[in-house]
Symmetry: C2
Subunit: 250 residues, 2 copies
């Protein structure tokens, strides 16, 4: 339901710029210098010593693992406000790479641990983020284990659209900064299948393409049905919350 990855720790209700109750963790990074990464540049690689934590200010990141013969699995895309690099292990368990140009701040692991562990405000916030990511991971497992290609793509577009609408850019144009290969590696499909389904959704009028990296969702309700949220979710408090709030102007 969410596209946030594991260990990426974003609150679903996060709105960049809002320094509200849920955004205390940003204070840990506030004094750090701003860094910049160009598209394709890696923040760190799987196996690197996990010395730092990062918070994204601007741009989008992909986080992935590679197995044996080069198969890649993107475990998540990270957006402004998200934390990157949280781990109890000595080394990072995945690679983090810029999709777009990215601005971020970093702190050392020690510094982060001290500040968060010492603060009765920050601790529960971190834990809440972890829980949200756990939930996102479970949803992704459901998607990968049991959803059809069309349901996967629909779910993905829906998650991105919801995130965008939560960020109050009232415009209906949804940005898809990642490539088709990124989408495929996130959804456990091939590039060709993703492409075919995007085409099909477009020709059915569910979405409209605006170049290759932006779409308009023309039929949100239909997209929800295609995503496999048809029957179920009646007793799922999150799904209910979502369907009650007017995500788009229907």
């Amino acid at each position: 339901m969410y596209s946030e990855p594991m260990m990426a720790l974003s609150r679903q209700d996060h709105v960049p710029g809002e320094i509200g109750s849920g955004e205390g963790l940003a204070s840990v990074f506030r004094r750090q210098a701003e860094e910049r990464f160009e598209p394709g540049a890696a923040l760190f690689w799987e196996g690197d010593v996990a010395a730092h934590l990062f918070q994204i200010i601007e741009g989008v990141l992909r986080v992935y693992k590679i197995i044996g013969d080069g198969r890649r699995v993107i475990t998540g895309f990270l957006y402004p406000g998200d934390l990157v690099g949280l781990s109890q292990r000595r080394c990072y368990l995945y690679t983090a790479e810029a999709v777009t140009r990215v601005k971020l701040r970093r702190v050392t692991r020690n510094r982060f641990d001290e500040e968060v562990n010492g603060s009765p405000t920050l601790r529960p916030e971190l834990f809440a983020r972890l829980s949200d990511e756990m939930e996102a991971a479970q949803d992704q497992m459901v998607l990968l284990a049991r959803k059809s290609a069309e349901e996967r793509v629909a779910s993905f577009l829906l998650a991105i659209a919801r995130r965008a609408s939560a960020h109050l850019d009232g415009q209906p144009l949804i940005d898809l900064p990642m490539t088709r290969l990124d989408m495929a590696d996130y959804l456990g499909l091939t590039i060709e299948t993703v492409s075919r389904i995007m085409t099909r959704l477009t020709s059915r009028g569910v979405i409209a393409a605006s170049g290759r990296h932006a779409i308009v969702v023309r039929q949100p309700l239909k997209l929800e049905i295609l995503a496999g949220e048809g029957d179920d979710g009646a007793h799922d408090p999150i799904a209910v919350a979502y369907s009650r709030q007017a995500v788009w102007p229907h």
Copy 2:
């Protein structure tokens, strides 16, 4: 690599009965009465108000979600020592059900939160468990997104075998308490595919069946290769640690 589910929070090095550095969380449950669940009985359902947390003493649990038309995804199997029901939400996000006869203890969420949040020993332990589960979730995503049916089944058997060997029951007989349907719903396959692959592994001599709910791993190295740990993992500290330690008497 591990079969622990999300929010199930077991430390990989956990050994039941060992009251060592990593097992302080058991103390939270120690005074509670022991409860018993028969096979098939649910501890709680997805959507129930999340009032309690549980720690398993004995037996195996499955944790799952259902989507729309009845498709089921098992997000994990839980073993003695594991915690069940950790969530920041008002309601449980999944159903937890006994596979075998299960003994466990429960505490209220409030009680758990107080005790853990008040203890500088317990807090990092809980966080470490969360991180382990996050790692397990990522591995499961890799499995579901990019591994073949044979790799999935091999990975699963390997994880179970490693868990068993870590629990120092030196016997080579590995218990598989769950049904083929459970395995299928965990691995994103059908019952028939799981069955065919188990048969194939047996006829190739990689494993030997002992009834339907126990196997002997006859060729651990071959199983590792089939699981897709062939090339990669050279710079993966965990994989390296595993392959260095003699998990079985080769």
